[in-house]
């Protein structure tokens, strides 16, 4: 979907007339054809997977069958509600980023038929390959939609079950419960059907691992590349993660640790590949996926990774660091970087211990301290994970999955402490714990069932206000005003707006509220 959308975006931007801010249905058509072809190619594999799933389900005890049935009913309910929600245009307060820049900025570029910097927008200097890749899907309907989101939800469940299958072919119960645990996590389920990109980013991580394990190295490379350049902080985060894991493995080896394992199984060439070739290919694909955003960031800020290193690094010799526009960009980048401290409650040892519980539970209706609470599956898996971590240390065995979780968590603790940035380590934790049969007890299964029932209520509560409403009825008042303005606006010049979240403007705009928004730059 991303690969198709990315190519279609650039084609439509420079070849077709997109001045009304809409795209053709080419993206959807190509995606549908490719999906049908790939499903047809995998038909035997899919049929045998479904057959083995049913066959193994029959061997379960009556209790397990009942729990699986009830959990499945809850999952169908959650998915049903969120699929319905994804057909509505973005309008929730938590969809602000989507209405602000995920959709607005690619749309403004399409209206202008140009990728040049939108002088009023600081967010236009962010890395947005996923945003532009999804815009041909978002903008092909009368009003922007959130339909692509649901494909990433299904994709995430499939790739995680697929990775699980590589290491634990026999654990059918585990495959069921890894999916139940993901859907039973509040911070994940509440994002389904909502216009946010964290599930897509998480999907890319596991899809890249899955493709690599299946020896489809090029696909893994493309998926990892989209992940690596998905947000401005991601190149830093991923580089630190890779370096951190390597340092941890090297340190453990120097302490006499020998066996390297992943998900309880020793690695026997599963991750082997041509390292140098991978790096060369990674750089080549990066030129296509990250290149346009790096170039734009350097051209207008001097830094290759806006808002990072602005003022410290200047790779553009034509840029005057003392000019008014550069001084403003430096101020804005500082304000953007300071937003990371808005979450969490400090970084001391006591806060660290407290957050292990607090990130899982709501404090006041929803957990504002660390964004949405993760929920019960994390708490259930956390204890066994700590046990496994100490057990592997005692046995002098390197558990790659544990190290990845640990390093990721440390980096998250030092960065913006929002639970939506914890999807990857939490799903790794679920996989690690659920892959061990001894932890899949009846009480655990009941815990996951309780969690799914609570999530069903939460998801229903989140979307019940939209039930029976049309696409226009759910819109915010200012979005309705934008649609009304579109009828007789002068499209030959930019219309001044006092707000920047203008995804529904299908005409050129300039936001002027630089005094109260970190995303808006002062224009002449």
């Amino acid at each position: 979907m991303l690969f198709v959308g990315y190519l279609v975006f650039w084609f439509e931007l420079y070849v077709l007339d997109t001045s009304k801010g809409s795209t053709s249905i080419a993206g959807w058509l190509i995606f549908a054809v490719l999906s049908v072809i790939s499903l047809f190619q995998c038909r035997k594999l899919l049929i045998s997977a479904v057959e083995s799933l049913f066959e193994c389900s029959r061997k379960r005890t009556r209790f397990e069958k009942l729990v699986i049935l009830l959990c499945s009913i809850a999952c169908v309910f959650i998915i049903g509600v969120t699929v319905k929600a994804s057909f509505l245009p973005p309008h929730f307060p938590q969809e602000y980023d989507t209405i602000n820049y995920h959709i607005t900025l690619p749309r403004q570029h399409l209206i202008n038929n140009s990728f040049d910097h939108l002088s009023w927008s600081a967010a236009d200097l962010y890395f947005m390959p996923i945003d532009v890749a999804l815009s041909p899907f978002w903008l092909s309907t009368e009003l922007p939609n959130k339909i692509p989101q649901i494909f990433f939800v299904f994709g995430l469940m499939l790739v995680v079950a697929s990775i699980f299958n590589v290491f634990n072919r026999d654990s059918i119960l585990g495959k069921f419960f890894i999916v139940f645990a993901i859907l039973g996590s509040h911070n994940i389920s509440i994002q389904m059907g909502v216009g946010m990109l964290d599930i897509a980013i998480c999907y890319l991580f596991f899809a890249a691992v899955d493709s690599w394990l299946r020896k489809d190295h090029f696909l893994a490379l493309v998926e990892f590349n989209f992940l690596f350049w998905s947000k401005s902080f991601m190149p830093i985060m991923m580089s630190l993660l890779i370096v951190g894991v390597f340092i941890a493995v090297f340190a453990l080896k120097s302490f006499g640790f020998k066996k390297v394992a992943i998900l309880s199984e020793d690695i026997q060439g599963k991750f082997k590949g041509n390292g140098k070739g991978f790096i060369v290919m990674f750089l080549a694909v990066s030129m296509v996926i990250g290149g346009p955003f790096i170039a734009k960031s350097i051209k207008y800020t001097g830094s290759p990774l806006f808002p990072f290193f602005v003022g410290d690094v200047n790779l553009n010799p034509n840029l005057d660091g003392r000019s008014d526009s550069m001084v403003q960009i430096q101020e804005v980048s500082k304000r953007i970087l300071n937003t990371k401290d808005q979450y969490g409650s400090g970084r001391g040892p006591a806060e660290f211990l407290k957050h292990l519980w607090l990130i899982s539970v709501p404090e006041k209706d929803v957990n504002k301290r660390c964004d949405y609470p993760i929920g019960l599956p994390y708490l259930l898996c956390f204890g066994p994970f700590v046990y496994l971590l100490f057990d592997s240390l005692k046995k002098k065995r390197i558990e790659l999955c544990s190290i990845l979780i640990f390093v990721y968590w440390v980096l998250w603790w030092m960065g913006s402490q929002q639970t939506r940035f914890l999807y990857i380590p939490i799903i790794c934790m679920y996989m690690l714990v659920i892959s061990q049969k001894k932890f899949l007890t009846g009480v655990f299964q009941i815990g996951i069932l309780i969690s799914l029932l609570l999530i069903s209520i939460s998801v229903f509560r989140a979307h019940k206000g939209d039930l029976g409403k049309s696409k226009y009825e759910v819109l915010r008042q200012k979005d309705r005003d934008l649609l009304a303005m579109a009828k007789d606006v002068d499209r030959s010049k930019s219309t001044k707006l006092s707000f920047e979240d203008a995804a529904f403007a299908n005409f050129p705009i300039v936001a002027t509220n630089h005094y109260n928004s970190v995303f808006v730059l002062k224009t002449k």
Binding site: V361, P362, E363, L380, G383, P384, F439, F444
Partner: protein
């Protein structure tokens, strides 16, 4: 036989799960009830 079953049900991991589930449900209940105060 009975002793083995009891051991199976009340092994340490199940006790951990049990307390976590109870603590979580009580916490959610308290937060829910606070909304009516």
């Amino acid at each position: 036989m009975k002793e083995t079953n009891v051991k199976k049900i009340f092994n340490s991991v199940n006790i951990y799960y049990f307390f976590i589930i109870v603590a979580y449900v009580i916490w959610r209940l308290v937060i829910f009830l606070k909304r009516f105060n």
